[in-house]
Each structure stands twice: as structure tokens, then as C-alpha cells.
Amino acid sequence: MSSMLSRFLGDVGFQLTLAVQVVLRAGSSWRRRTLVADQLFQSGLKVVHVVLLVGLFIGMIVALQTGLELSRFGQQDQIGTIVALSMCREMGPFITATILAATVGSALAAELGTMAVSEELAALEVMSIDRISFLVMPRVLAAAIVCPMLTVLCDAIGIVGGGLIAQSQLNVGMSLYYDSVLESLNDRGLPFDLPKDVYTGLFKSFVFGIVLSVISCAAGVQATSGAMGVGNATRKAVRDSIIAIIVSNYFLSWMFFNT
């Protein structure tokens, strides 16, 4: 039990140290723009279709499950509000981050893990090349940018999916549905001239992007023992990322919406 605790604390300490080191090197992001752009492509464009597909069905599921209950009380015209708030506050950021953890996070851990066990990281060190600036920072920055961007798409397609269900299953007209969506997102909070539900969701996504990429990179660079070590690092990266996303999601929601 105590060894598990010390291993957990060691992992968290390493991840926090890595995050701080990434922040300290953020100034070199312009110099690393080619690497960042490459990572944006790898972690963004390659998973857009997955986010769109999952987002569409999540919106449809939310609309169906809540709409059926609402229709029992004759309140099905509220479905736009529920779908919009669910997608923007929680489902969009969470689903996007989970997809990224499973796809991009696992790929980051496997890629850096393979580099670790094939001595490529050691080669960078003996060449006095800063591994954090060269490998980790561009990946974390790309994930922090991509996660909110994909969340916008996920939110939008989820709302569209909810609208399809509202019209086809709940007999709620499209114009009524979209009016209630827009009305529900009208709560403009400081400091941005954006609906609070949207920007808090995007802020969450930004944090999730950093969390999942730092955890995945940390797992990768610590990999040892050949192919098995890379497999373990990948599994650990996905598991820990999803747990960290859920835990941080609670605290961020509490921070923004606890009144």
C-alpha cells in the first residue's frame, strides 16, 4: 500500500515538474513552430472525424433520453436548452478530451516511449538538446490548442444531432429548438463577451488538453524495458489521463458553477 502511494506521488510529482518545465519553455514555441504545426496536424486533423461522429451521437443520445422524459410532462420544447447546456458545459469538453486521450495521448506515450527504449532520448541528451523544448513542449502546446478547437466542433455537431432527434422523435420544430439553444446560451459572463457556458467549456478543454498531453508525455519518457515497457506506458497514459480529466472536470465545474 505504501509503495503504491509513493509510486503515485512520484508519478504526480514527475508530471507536475514536467508541466512546469513546459511552461518555462513556452517562450521557445515560435522557434518550434514547425514542430508545433506538425503536432497540430497529428493531434487535430487526424481525429476530427472521430470527434464529429461521437459528438453527433452524444447529442442525439442526450436529446433522446431527456426528451422522452420531458415529453411525459409536456416540456419537450425545453430540449434545446438541455442539449446545448449539456454539450457546452460538460459533454463536449469531456468527450473531446477523452477521444484525444485515447487517440493522441496513447500515440504520444507510444512515440516517446519507443524513443526512450531505443535510446533516442539518450541521444538527444548527449547532444545537449533540450528534450522538453524539442519533444514535449510542442506536443503539449498543440494539444492545448487543438482540444478547445475540437470541442467547438463537438458542441456544434452535438447540438445539431439533438435537433435531428427533437424534430424526428419529439415533434419539436427546428426553429423552436434552435431558439431555445440560443436563448440558453445567452448568459454572457465576464470577462469575455461570450456565453459563459461556452467559454467555461472551452477553458476546461484547454486544461484537459494540457493535462492529457503532459501525463502522456510523462508516461512515454519514463518508459523502460522494450516493447512491454512501451505498452505499459501507453496503457498508463490513457488510464491516468482519463482519471485526471474526470477529477479536474469536477473541480473546474465547481469553480465556475458553484454559487
Binding site: M115, S118, E119, E120, A122, A123, E125, V126, M127, S128, I129, D130, F134
Partner: protein, 253 residues
């Protein structure tokens, strides 16, 4: 080189009573060695005896549990980060599997230390890279990706990367492991020629006697965490010490 000659020469790498263990596994236990400036020293030994561990102490990838490793007078346990960076810029390290970054072309792998640690213009970097690729006899691979290269070519590119900063010391970790005899022989001759042309100090970890014969001025056997039977390759190969005979037996065949 006679013992007297050796004593006169400048020691560039020194291990003094170095101990290193990984958990319960003791790897180095009182390892002593002096490598002279400009010589090629080979550390031989069975697999798993800590040859690569010994090598990694020289470039600061590992620190000894006790004992001292000095490189050009710098204690590698206490060396400051900036000094270590400067010292590493004077060393090249050839990894067993070449350790090329697989998302960069061969030429960009060789260019990497220059791009990252100097402010040289692109044209000059490219010129230096092409010169080093030509030196290791793979002049046409600049744009090839590592997975398009054979094992021997990857080793040569790894060697070019180690040479691109014009190092004074080159560390070779099993430079001919996994290569067929013909390619091994060509790599050995390349190492010997480079040492003669560039006057670098070479510390070579190998278990191939052919590599020692061709490249080394002196050789020692690492066994039980210590270095034994340090001598020139001829004496080493013809020694009648039972442990050495046992180790060399099948290799000489």
C-alpha cells in the same frame, strides 16, 4: 605503446574505484581505467557485464554510486550543467542501434546537433553534414529516412552525427553489434581510419575481437565489475590467463 610511453601521456578519461549498482545488481565494483589522449581503448566483456554502463559514465548519462570519473579533468559527479553541455559538445557517442530519430531524414539527423546547439547558417550546416556523410562513406543518403537504410548505413549515419561537431572524444557502444562480418569489418576500418585522420580519443565497448584487432591501441576485459588484463590487442589475444582464454575461446575461432 610501452608502459613508459603511456605514463608520459596525458590522461583524458579516468575512472577511479567506480562502483555502480542498479538495485541489488552490482554492475561496476572498483572499476579503474585511464584512457590517454589520442588513443583507442576497447573494453571487452561478456554481455551484461556493464560495458555500456561504464561508457555512459563518461558522457554523464549515469553517475557513479561511489568513486570518481573524470573527463579532461572534470569530475562527472559534480560537473555543472553549463560545463557538462560544453564538455558534451566535445564528445560524440555512437549508439548500439544508432538511435536516429525516425521522423527526420538521415541528413537532418546528422544536422540536429548543429541546428540545436549552434547558430550556423543553413548552407554551412548542410555543407558540414554532407562532408561528414562522405567521410563515413554514405554520401547519398541525406534525404533518406532511417527506415530506408540498412543496419550498416544507419550505423554510419549515427557515426556521422557523432562526428559532426568535430569531437575530441568518440564513445562507441557496440559499434558492430548485429552486423554481418563484411559490414562489421568495413565499420572497423572506418573507425580506425577516422581515429588516424581526426586524431580523436576513442573508447570502444565491444565483444567482437575483430573490432579490437582493427581499431584498438589497448584493450581490457571487464568481468566481475572490474577491468582485467589491460594490454595491447596482440598480448590480450595471446594471453594464457584462464579467464581470458575462456572468454576469447569461441571468438578467436
Amino acid at each position: 605503446m610501452s608502459a613508459n610511453d603511456a605514463a608520459q601521456r596525458d590522461v583524458i578519461i579516468r575512472y577511479e574505484d567506480v562502483h555502480k549498482a542498479f538495485g541489488p545488481k552490482v554492475v561496476l565494483a572498483g572499476f579503474d581505467l585511464e584512457v590517454y589522449r589520442g588513443e583507442a581503448f576497447a573494453i571487452m566483456g561478456p554481455s551484461g557485464t556493464g560495458k555500456s554502463v561504464a561508457l555512459r559514465h563518461v558522457i554523464g548519462l549515469l553517475k557513479p554510486d561511489s568513486g570518481v570519473v573524470t573527463v579532461d579533468g572534470n569530475d562527472m559527479r559534480t560537473i555543472e550543467r553549463d560545463k557538462l553541455r560544453e564538455l558534451r559538445s566535445r564528445m560524440g557517442y555512437v549508439f548500439q542501434e544508432a538511435a536516429l530519430l525516425n521522423w527526420l531524414s538521415a541528413g537532418e539527423n546528422v544536422a540536429l546537433p548543429l541546428r540545436e546547439t549552434t547558430r550556423l547558417p543553413d548552407a554551412e550546416i548542410r555543407e558540414k553534414v554532407n562532408a561528414k556523410l562522405a567521410l563515413v562513406q554514405v554520401p547519398d543518403v541525406y534525404n533518406k529516412m532511417p527506415n530506408e537504410l540498412s543496419g550498416g548505413m544507419r550505423k554510419r549515419v549515427g557515426l556521422a552525427r557523432a562526428l559532426v561537431t568535430d569531437p575530441e572524444i568518440i564513445l562507441y557502444d557496440e559499434p558492430t553489434a548485429g552486423l554481418d562480418p563484411e559490414i562489421s569489418s568495413s565499420i572497423n576500418h572506418l573507425m580506425r581510419d577516422l581515429a588516424q585522420q581526426l586524431h580523436v580519443t576513442s573508447l570502444i565497448v565491444t565483444h567482437h575481437i575483430g573490432c579490437v584487432r582493427t581499431t584498438a591501441d589497448r584493450v581490457g576485459l571487464l568481468d566481475g565489475g572490474k577491468l582485467h588484463y589491460v594490454s595491447n590487442p596482440q598480448e590480450f589475444i595471446h594471453s594464457t590467463e584462464p579467464r581470458l582464454v575462456r572468454f576469447l575461446g569461441d571468438k578467436l575461432d
